[in-house]
């Protein structure tokens, strides 16, 4: 099992994502002879080995069940143990596209943090690219290193415990892209410039939750000769679907009904006709039939901010001489 490519069948030693429901998933290392317990029951690892990824496994009683999903960077982001504030999909994906990550690209990341973004980068630049990731907090670096090894990512990822503000990246003219998630990214801009390739376009992204960090970072990027300094926020909101009753006011005006009291909608099972998501009927608490409408609604609470993303490019140094043939 690797995080950066799929396989079909679960083998001893693989990591799977156990899916209970939308809000409850967890990673599990499958090991022959072991037993896994959750609130849905007890599951034997031996029953999992040899199954296809995506399979449903039933517990000992035959009542509870879970799905065994193939790990992906996106799922990992949902289950990774948070050692720091992590990056989420809208930021991860936007940064990756903006920085033009593709197989073969060489990238530098600092700090590694919980490794949420590292997994995604590795998947995208593998097998021919490479990620050098730096973490100044020693225990976090050790934990991340252990995960990269378990997830078979060591061919694509090199992690180093290093204070890059004090010591730089120790790399010159190598990186296509640099990602800085540091409290004071402006102090690492010079090091980033060193690390970026000078023979072709280089890209940088600085990830900062506070606007004051952006203000200082933008000035530092400008001073160090970066150009096309642009700043974005990228978020997403999820929608829920439900059927709501649409009783007819004429029935109240005409006295057929006194008032409308809906049955608690979360208690009843949603039923939808196959061919239409916008009609249906329901029964109200008084027993009369009520027309229904399928509606979507954003979840009540959503992520309102993660970080500001400051991007810039380092365009290759060209002299006044316009001839580039050398």
């Amino acid at each position: 099992m690797m995080f950066h490519e799929y396989k079909n069948v679960i083998e001893d030693g693989d990591t799977v994502i156990v899916y209970l429901n939308h809000n409850s998933m967890s990673p599990l290392k499958v090991e022959a002879g072991q037993v896994y317990n959750n609130r849905f029951g007890t599951f034997k690892h031996d029953d999992m080995i040899g199954l296809k990824y995506g399979s449903k496994v039933v517990n000992k009683d035959g009542k509870g069940f879970v799905f065994l999903l193939h790990p992906t960077p996106a799922l990992w982001t949902q289950v990774v143990p948070h050692r720091t504030q992590i990056l989420y999909l809208p930021d991860i994906s936007f940064i990756s596209l903006y920085l033009d990550l593709r197989p073969g690209k060489i990238m530098i990341e600092s700090g590694t943090g919980s490794g949420s973004f590292s997994h995604s980068i590795a998947r995208t630049i593998a097998p021919t690219g490479h990620l050098y990731t730096f973490e100044y907090h020693e225990i976090r670096a050790q934990t991340a290193r252990k995960e990269f090894i378990e997830h078979n990512l060591t061919d694509v990822v090199t992690i180093e415990h290093r204070d890059v503000i004090a010591n730089g990246f120790g790399k010159r003219n190598i990186a296509d892209a640099v990602f800085l998630d540091l409290p004071a990214p402006w102090d690492a801009v010079a090091a980033a410039k060193d690390a970026l390739r000078k023979d072709t376009i280089g890209r940088i992204c600085c990830f900062s939750p506070c606007i004051e960090q952006v203000q200082r970072t933008a000035l530092a990027l400008d001073e160090h000769g970066f150009s096309e300094i642009r700043m974005y926020e990228s978020l997403a909101k999820d929608y829920e679907i439900r059927n709501i009753p649409q009783p007819d006011i004429d029935e109240v005006i005409d006295g057929q009904r006194v008032s409308f009291k809906p049955v608690k909608s979360d208690k009843k099972k949603r039923k939808l006709e196959n061919d239409s998501a916008c009609s249906g009927t329901d029964t109200d608490a008084n027993g009369s039939t009520v027309k229904e409408l399928t509606v979507t609604k954003p979840t009540d609470v959503v992520r309102g901010h993660t970080s500001y993303l400051t991007f810039a490019i380092l365009a290759p140094e060209e002299g006044d001489d316009i001839d580039m043939s050398e």
């Binding site: 079909n8 809208p90 073969g104 995208t124 690219g129 642009r230 400051t310």
Partner: protein, 405 residues
């Protein structure tokens, strides 16, 4: 650590070749007005940027992307250093005594037009024009530093002849079409495309099944993320796919792209039945037969690829009712793989979502909408852009576990 880096290098980490502008490349040109256009840089031609002037394509060939160039005399260009941040202070933006009055400009309309013409010929630089304008503007001296900066920026975006050649990356192409012809790519915005690629879990070796009625932007973006061990199989209506966006991508992508018409989805292809040609066959006959054989073989390969099944992702952006589109392609998808459906509006996806929830073939079904905001970051003038896009589209995603139930 250095040992590790050395090991990585030894393990084959090699920098990609530097990207330079080659003859025949498509390049997105950003003009001083911030508008962009796509041009094809053909050797020995002139590239016109309209009122900002024109330059010899040859002058750009061999350069790298992302630099700022200024058009000088005779269609030549030279690297231009963009001025850095100024330190204008908005706190002093109190033009209490300024009355907007066109009469404060002492240059006549004709004089300004004359300067513009000379500028287009390269005889006068943009900064010279702007100096003339400010020197002859009676109100300018009374303006605050903040207003002076604003005035000069406005004039620069009008008279500068600087441009930036941008690479036709997936990001830049998406951004370009979203701003100039949103309907072409079905209204997909950069953040939505980005999330789509992340949800799809595309990687170098992935085999991706794709329906893209947005003229190939999606197909093109997927192709940037796979290498030859992977592939993108595009299912399209009509006889040939309408993937116009692909022609702006500067790398050849044919090897990794296979396409199949919907009408061939259930096609049982007979063996190639044309008889061998006799020795007396004309050259045309020979070429024709060879072409038809290649076509037959290509279709056979594509059908075999499709029917080998276990694809690693199903990605859909369709003008057809999406539920059936997904349903008809599900048999070819592997277990624990992603289905991602895009639409510009939420309603068509609501129907698919309701079906997915009830079908028991999917887990982690999610409907989401991206939100993107750009900011102006300038000393004392940082704020989100005053006008922005109303929406970037919706994504429905789910993990297919169909075979298990």
């Amino acid at each position: 650590m250095e040992a590790e880096a050395a090991a990585a290098a030894a393990a084959g980490t090699v920098q990609l070749e530097r990207t330079v502008i080659k003859a025949g490349d498509h390049v997105i040109i950003r003009m001083p007005s911030s508008n962009t256009k796509i041009v094809c840089i053909r050797a020995d031609t002139t590239v016109s940027l309209g009122k900002f002037g024109s330059f010899n394509a040859n002058a750009l060939i061999g350069h790298t992307f992302g630099h700022t160039f200024e058009i000088v005399q005779n269609g030549q260009i030279q690297p231009h250093h963009q001025p850095g941040f100024d330190a204008a202070d908005i706190t002093a933006a109190n033009n209490q005594t300024i009355v907007d009055d066109p009469k404060s400009q002492k240059l006549s309309f004709e004089e300004i037009e004359g300067l513009k013409k000379q500028s287009l010929m390269g005889a006068v630089s943009a900064s010279e024009i702007i100096s003339s304008l400010t020197a002859n503007n009676e109100a300018f001296a009374h303006k605050t530093e903040f207003s002076k900066s604003k005035y000069i920026r406005r004039k620069q975006s009008k008279f500068n002849k600087c441009f930036v050649p941008l690479e036709t990356t997936a990001y830049n192409l998406c951004d370009f079409f979203f701003s100039v012809n949103m309907q072409k790519t079905r209204g997909i915005r950069t953040d939505t495309l980005a999330q789509m690629l992340a949800l799809v879990n595309v990687y170098a070796g992935a085999r991706v099944l794709c329906v893209d009625d947005g003229q190939g932007l999606l197909v093109g973006a997927l192709l940037t993320r796979v290498l030859d061990q992977g592939c993108v199989l595009g299912v399209h209506d009509g006889d040939v796919p309408n993937y116009d966006v692909l022609r702006y991508v500067n790398e050849p992508t044919d090897g990794r792209l296979k396409t199949l018409a919907w009408s061939k989805l259930k096609y049982q292809q007979p063996a190639f039945a044309e008889p061998e040609l006799t020795a007396s066959a004309s050259e045309n006959d020979v070429l024709g037969r060879a072409r038809r054989l290649r076509g037959h073989q290509k279709l056979a390969d594509t059908l075999a690829e499709l029917r080998s099944g276990d694809f690693d992702a199903l990605v859909v952006s369709t003008k057809y009712a999406a539920r059936k589109v997904v349903d008809r392609l599900l048999p070819y998808l592997g277990m624990s793989r992603m289905v991602v459906v895009y639409d510009q509006c939420k309603e068509p996806l609501t129907e698919v979502l309701a079906w997915m929830r009830d079908s028991h073939m999917f887990v982690n079904v999610q409907l989401s909408e991206g939100w993107l905001r750009e900011y102006q970051v300038l000393p004392s003038r940082t704020h989100p852009t005053m006008s922005t896009s109303g929406g970037g589209g919706f994504l429905l995603s789910a993990i297919y576990v169909g075979g298990s139930v």
